[in-house]
Amino acid sequence: MANFIDRRLNSKNKSTVNRQRFLRRYKNQIKKSVSEAINQRGVTDVNSGESIIIPKRDLSEPTFHQGDGGIKDRVHPGNDQFSTGDRIPRPPKQQGQGAGQGDASDSGEGEDDFTFSISKEEYLNLLFEDLELPNLEKNQLDKLIEYKTVRSGFCAEGVASNIDIVKSLQGSIARRIAMTSSKRKQLKALEEALLALTNDKHDNIQKKRALTTEIETLKGKIAKVPFIDTFDLRFRNYAKQAVPTSKAVMFCLMDVSGSMDQATKEMAKRFYILLYLFLSRTYKNIDVVYIRHHTQAKEVNEHEFFYSQETGGTIASSALELMNDIITERYNDNQWNIYGAQASDGDNWADDSPRCKKILEQEILPKSRYFSYIEITQRAHQTLWKHYQQVEESHPNFAMQHIKSVADIYPVFRELFKKSTQSAA
């Protein structure tokens, strides 16, 4: 006896729960792996998931099992050279607990790490868990600038160009039926009476005449009901709906003066990658503008931004000015969510720092959703830091952090964007 059952259409994701359980349990290891993997990425590469590596020992499921030592008797197949009593030097120990492993197979392919892939969503969620975009709530209303016109039913008044013919004629038919139905009933009755009289043997001339006049009157009344009336007219109604803009522009500002070495730039790059990934969770379209500066600022492409070396002094305000110009020129702050991220080693021409502060406070910050400044240096802070500190105190959408080494980047990033319970200053 046998019954066949086709299960192919049943859900195939029976193990999804278990997979989620697994991710949940190893969240810490996975997060670590995720934050390490961030270093390998290009700034705008957000479409891929990530492969996760977890050391195998962390995943072990312990059991009581036999360990080393003692006497072990094993039987193996394929004897090609041994005779009873042969003594062979003990082969090198294999990895793991090789209960069933052949003693002679020395090429134990020990896999040390457990590697698997997570999807893009899982990746981003893990990477930015507990983080949120700053000031979203506060600015939300201001940002509802862009409107979309949407249909919203019909209304009785409107301009002629919006007349909906079908709806209007439907109204017309309904009205005509409603206004004439009782008259039609009367008419029908009269006509039947007239017919009856006509078929009568007698000449009911008087009665016939009376009926005929009545019928004529009724027909006239019915005919007078207008085919279409202003009452019937229906106009398409439109409403304006506010749409939050989903466009964002991210300004990457970096000091490329002689004091910034490649290692420092790499650190900055990681920070920008994180920011980009983070923004890409919220916004569909993100423009990235790279501005590098020494004494002069210049808009460049990604490669040039990270890999070209310049020398010379540093005037940070030049970059801020350029950023402001670009905003005015291309990124209307009504339509774009503007984010700025500035990285520097803290060197700046001393007289320039107050100017930076001024541009930020007066021009950039009012237009931006968030502006972050990271200082990558091992040395003591200089004037730029001090002036920026004043900015930070008075502006909730400005944040600054200090990065000393690569390991700081991710924590600092989290610090900048952590879900804040602080009320806006």
Binding site: M1, N3, R8, K14, F22, P62, G67, D73, V75
Partner: protein
């Protein structure tokens, strides 16, 4: 279609029309093959549970894999890990999926994978639906340890119960309990007692009573502690009275601070472990039996002219891969392939019955020349791997496999060849190979010897080494899990060479020694 008239009754035709052998299968074709296979299986007296053959996709097969073949599994991260591993390996092409999974239940559920060709489906049906199925129904271990008709209900009960617990007590708590139970899973088996049969209704009915009763029982336990001091010293209360090998059972019944729902989870894991216990003990036989029958049945169909040459070539190709035994110095070698050993042993038994040599008559006087069908059925029904090998491994097979025995004593810096495939070595090789499948040699012997109920409630386990093999490294981790369930100190003792008991592991870890 060429096989219109292909019902079983066309025996009159000497020239039978072969079944369709297109690679793509359809349900009608599967029915036809199934019908023929069933007929042949019946001819060979294979007694089976009703077959429930389910066609699934590769993804579903991976799901089934991940839950160790349980059709309904509770949620746990280890299954997720298994799933991810399987998926990774499959995607990288490092491994193919098994062609089938079969579940010891009544009706016997087997999964056929959609991707298989028609030939493979026929192979799988003969292998799983008639081979494994008849083994589950006939072998004495399965008969006495598992109840095929109730397992699906029980798994369903377990899944729902655990899901319920997760809602009530939180995922973390349940997960920790399950982790602890899994660590002790292989010590949750009654090796010598026969478990009771259970039905879902009964199980549900009993579950709530049991929860309350157990708790009261545990409390009562402490009241039994003798009060008089002198009596105590004279006649020290010893609990448990005898060493307990079923650690999970002991925990379920006696752990003082375990919540009722935790006891139930311990019980669930224990039951599942018990259910799988016979499969552990009969791997070689079970696979061998299934391979033997898919081989025999399909060859029978071929002899009848029901399957084509093309079909047979594809079948033999897969069959040969399955029963291949790499040699010890091959890079593919990973121990003895149970399929190869089991299949060849059954084939060999048939050979001994049908064409015995002088050597066979000497080694197997009772079966040489007997009816082979009776003999293989007897062998399938009454043995487990260990006894099967020591009973039926013939010198010819030892020669064919070129088996040799390595004696590895850690006191020496060399290993020694104990025996090879020659006249002097046959019995020794056979003895050692049989021992290799003796679970009591493979699984560690660890038993609860004392629960110190009148003192600090510390739990003591004794490890009795087999052949002086030490207890593996993860013992400390396992002990942490045991401690989680027991809540008081736990330790493992082992008798050292001078006959004293030494603590080899304890939890919580202590600096001072006792």
């Amino acid at each position: 279609m060429t096989n219109k008239n292909n019902t079983a009754e066309n025996i009159k035709n000497t020239k039978t029309t072969p079944l369709d052998d297109t690679p793509d299968w359809t349900f009608e074709l599967l029915e036809q093959y199934q019908h023929e296979i069933a007929r042949v299986a019946d001819f060979y007296r294979l007694d089976t549970y009703t077959n429930q053959i389910e066609v699934i996709t590769a993804e579903q097969m991976m799901d089934a894999y991940a839950s160790v073949g349980m059709p309904i599994g509770y949620s746990h991260w280890t299954f997720g890990k298994k799933f991810i591993q399987t998926e990774q390996n499959y995607k990288r092409g490092q491994m193919g999926l098994a062609y089938e999974i079969v579940i010891n239940s009544s009706p016997c559920i087997s999964y056929l994978m959609e991707e298989n060709t028609l030939t493979m489906q026929a192979l799988v049906m003969a292998h799983a639906c008639y081979g494994h199925n008849s083994f589950f129904k006939g072998n004495y271990l399965f008969k006495s340890w598992t109840d095929a008709s109730s397992i699906i209900d029980y798994l369903l009960f377990a899944k729902n119960y655990i899901a319920q617990c997760e809602q009530k007590y939180g995922i973390n708590e349940v997960e920790a309990t399950l982790d602890a139970c899994h660590a002790l899973m292989s010590h949750g088996v009654d090796r010598y007692k026969r478990p009771q049969k259970i039905s879902l209704d009964e199980e549900l009915k009993r579950q709530s009573e049991r929860a309350e009763y157990l708790q009261s029982q545990v409390n009562a336990l402490w009241r039994t502690v003798p009060k008089k001091e002198q009596q105590e010293s004279e006649n020290k209360y010893k609990f448990p009275k005898e060493p307990q090998e079923n650690i999970l059972y002991f925990i379920e019944k006696n752990a003082p601070l375990l919540q009722p729902w935790q006891r139930e989870i311990v019980r669930i894991v224990r039951k599942i472990s018990q259910y799988f216990y016979p499969q552990k003990q009969t791997q070689v036989m079970n696979e061998g039996w299934a391979c033997f029958w898919h081989y025999t049945i399909l060859n029978h169909l071929y002899d009848e002219g029901l399957v084509t040459d093309k079909f047979m070539l594809e079948f033999l190709h897969s069959h040969t891969n399955v029963v291949a035994q790499p040699e010890y110095n091959s890079k593919f070698y990973s121990g003895i392939n149970p399929y190869a050993l089991g299949f060849n042993m059954f084939i060999d038994i048939r050979r001994i019955c049908e064409h015995p040599t002088e050597e066979d008559k000497e080694y197997f006087p009772e079966i040489a020349g007997s009816n082979w069908i009776d003999t293989v059925h007897f062998a399938m029904e009454n043995f487990k791997d260990e006894s099967f090998i020591s009973q039926y491994l013939s010198p010819k097979l030892i020669r064919d496999f070129k088996l040799f025995h390595i004696h590895d004593d850690s006191d020496n810096n060399y290993v020694e060849i104990g025996a090879i495939h020659n006249e002097q070595g046959y019995k020794k090789v056979r003895h050692n190979l049989a021992n290799q499948y003796n679970l009591s040699n493979i699984e560690v012997n660890i038993q609860i010897v004392d629960a110190n109920v009148d003192g600090d409630r510390a739990l003591t386990l004794r490890y009795t080494p087999h052949n002086d093999v030490e207890l593996g490294n993860s013992k400390d981790e396992v002990l942490k899990h045991l401690h989680y369930l027991w809540h008081f100190d736990v330790k493992i003792i082992q008798e050292n060479k001078s006959g004293e008991d030494k603590v080899i592991a304890c939890c919580p870890q202590k600096n001072k020694d006792d």
